[in-house]
């Protein structure tokens, strides 16, 4: 620690420049990371909303409907199912037309079809489910919003690919800029590195102070970025509350484990902090490793 501080003190401008680049990179990464996480969470939420509604003929027995329901649940592609019997359909109808007694007089529970609302685990399963339902007997109609689902699928894929490309670019840019910055710093020490090589220092011995200093700068920059980001999030919390009004839970899958991101919680913040710190440590140490390589060929 003493050596890191001495090095920073002896080359303050280069260290400060490296810190600033790291800070802005990490702050930008943090904003993107959390924004994309929320986007994924929202997409996951929206993906469970599209549904297939199947209307059975009025003569269809409940046992037949329950068999279809059980088969769908067993397929592993269905998130949830809701059976609406004739009576429930009539109650809904009554509720919708409570101000129009004429319409209520004309309709009874017997003429309303029972139905199933099927929520798929992924939108991609919906056409398959719809096809399966169409092949069953006693089906009156199968409805699902094909265009909306297709657009949602295209949108989610586009966002995923764009995020991947943007993150790759951000990582590459950060490493290139940081390497250049650290090269400026190390260039001042070229004769020292040459001397150390000539008197028998190992490559690790020469790299160690630069990597440790970069790690220190990476951890400091990520901590400060996280602090400022957290302050902004807390400051705009009421706006977020109104923006996500009606959505009780948003979650994303992290290595097949669901992580709740909304409402904001300590676990999510802790994971964000650890991720951004690791990211800062990795890019800063990779950059200093590449930068030192140039001068180790004596």
């Amino acid at each position: 620690m003493k050596e890191i501080w001495t090095s920073i003190r002896r080359t303050p401008y280069q260290s400060f420049s490296a810190f600033l680049i790291l800070f802005f990179t990490l702050f930008l990464t943090l904003i993107l990371f959390v924004s994309l996480t929320f986007l994924y969470g929202t997409l996951n939420y929206l993906e469970t909303k599209p549904q297939v509604t199947v209307y059975f003929q009025t003569k269809t027995l409940e046992n037949q409907i329950f068999k279809i329901r059980d088969d769908l649940m067993a397929s592993g592609k269905v998130l949830s199912l809701k059976y609406i019997s004739k009576n429930e359909a009539f109650n809904i109808y009554k509720q919708l037309n409570k101000d129009n007694p004429l319409l209520l007089e004309m309709v009874s529970a017997d003429i309303l079809p029972p139905s199933l609302e099927v929520y798929a685990k992924k939108p991609i399963y919906l056409p398959e489910i719809a096809e399966y339902l169409k092949k069953q007997g006693d089906i009156d109609e199968v409805q699902y919003e094909k265009d909306i689902i297709d657009k949602l699928l295209v949108l989610t894929n586009t966002i995923r690919i764009s995020a991947l490309i943007f993150f790759s670019y951000l990582i590459l840019m950060s490493i290139v800029v940081l390497t250049t910055m650290i090269l400026f710093k190390i260039a001042l020490k070229e004769s020292e590195i040459t001397l150390l090589k000539l008197i028998g220092a190992t490559n690790f011995y020469i790299r160690k102070p630069y990597i440790f200093e970069s790690l220190f700068l990476g951890i400091t920059a990520s901590t400060i970025s996280f602090g400022i980001f957290s302050f902004i999030v807390v400051y705009f919390n009421s706006f977020l509350q109104s923006y996500f009004k009606g959505i009780t839970v948003l979650s994303v899958n992290v290595f097949n484990y669901p992580l709740n991101i909304w409402p904001l919680n300590y676990v999510f913040f802790a994971i964000v902090f650890v991720s951004i710190t690791l990211f800062g440590m990795i890019i800063s140490s990779v950059a200093s490793y590449i930068a030192t390589n140039k001068y180790l060929k004596v």
Binding site: R10, S191, E192, L195, L196, K197, L198, I199, G200, A201, T202, Y205, V298
Partner: protein, 225 residues
């Protein structure tokens, strides 16, 4: 022991720095390399430190055949060698103590041993009172003393010096050479120099180089080209 056997060095542009050079230097021997600029003195020193490799021939230093294609002990070899440069190469952002200690730190000497060894070496080169001073506050002679201290500390068996008095006035040059005199018989010392007076007065082995070849090898020689 250092053995050069038919060593030739040709650079890519075609100039020949060394041409079929052979010699042996025994352990703890004191040797001057003399010759005009471009004669090949620095090339020999750089080959010993493995900064450059020969085009042909073999070089053996102690048990290491450094020209063997499978040679992988460059670090171990360099830890046996102390180097002194004409331009000192003293680290400007480290004080005298730190400059000398770096030679021990690279070989992993404990901090407890390090302090005592550095103080002992500072005494040897006459810089005991300047251990906390930074290079910018030192004279050329003192800078060269720091460089010598850095080269001899850590039980390095071979000391090579490339024009160690090249940037110093005559009196300081003699003071510096007195330090080498103290090391005589304890370490192998190879000094490349143009300083006629020093070579003549020491009466040690002299290898005379001209156009990349050894033209004289005198056991107790003077400066003759």
């Amino acid at each position: 022991m250092i053995v050069f056997d038919k060593v030739t060095k040709k650079f890519p542009l075609g100039n020949t720095a060394l041409n079929d050079v052979s010699f042996e230097i025994d352990d703890n021997q004191f040797v001057f390399l003399v010759g005009q600029s471009g004669a090949g003195k620095t090339t020999i020193l750089k080959m010993i430190t493995q900064e450059i490799s020969p085009t042909s021939g073999s070089i053996i230093i102690d048990d290491f055949d450094i020209t063997d294609k499978n040679f992988s002990q460059k670090i171990e070899l360099r830890r046996k060698i102390g180097i002194i440069f004409q331009d000192f190469k003293v680290l400007s952002d480290k004080n005298v103590f730190e400059n000398i200690a770096v030679s021990l730190k690279v070989i992993g000497v404990d901090n407890s041993d390090l302090k005592a060894k550095v103080k002992k070496t500072l005494e040897l080169v006459g810089l005991s009172k300047k251990e906390m001073v930074f290079p910018v506050q030192l004279s050329a002679g003192e800078l060269q003393r720091v460089a010598i201290a850095r080269a001899i500390i850590g039980d390095r068996d071979i000391i090579i010096a490339d024009e160690p008095t090249g940037n110093l006035d005559p009196k300081t040059s003699w003071d510096i050479m007195k330090i080498f005199k103290k090391l005589e018989g304890k370490k192998t010392i190879i000094i490349a120099t143009h300083n006629t007076d020093i070579v003549n007065s020491f009466q040690k082995r002299v290898l005379v180089l001209k156009d990349g070849k050894i033209i004289k090898d005198q056991r107790k020689g003077g400066y003759e080209l």
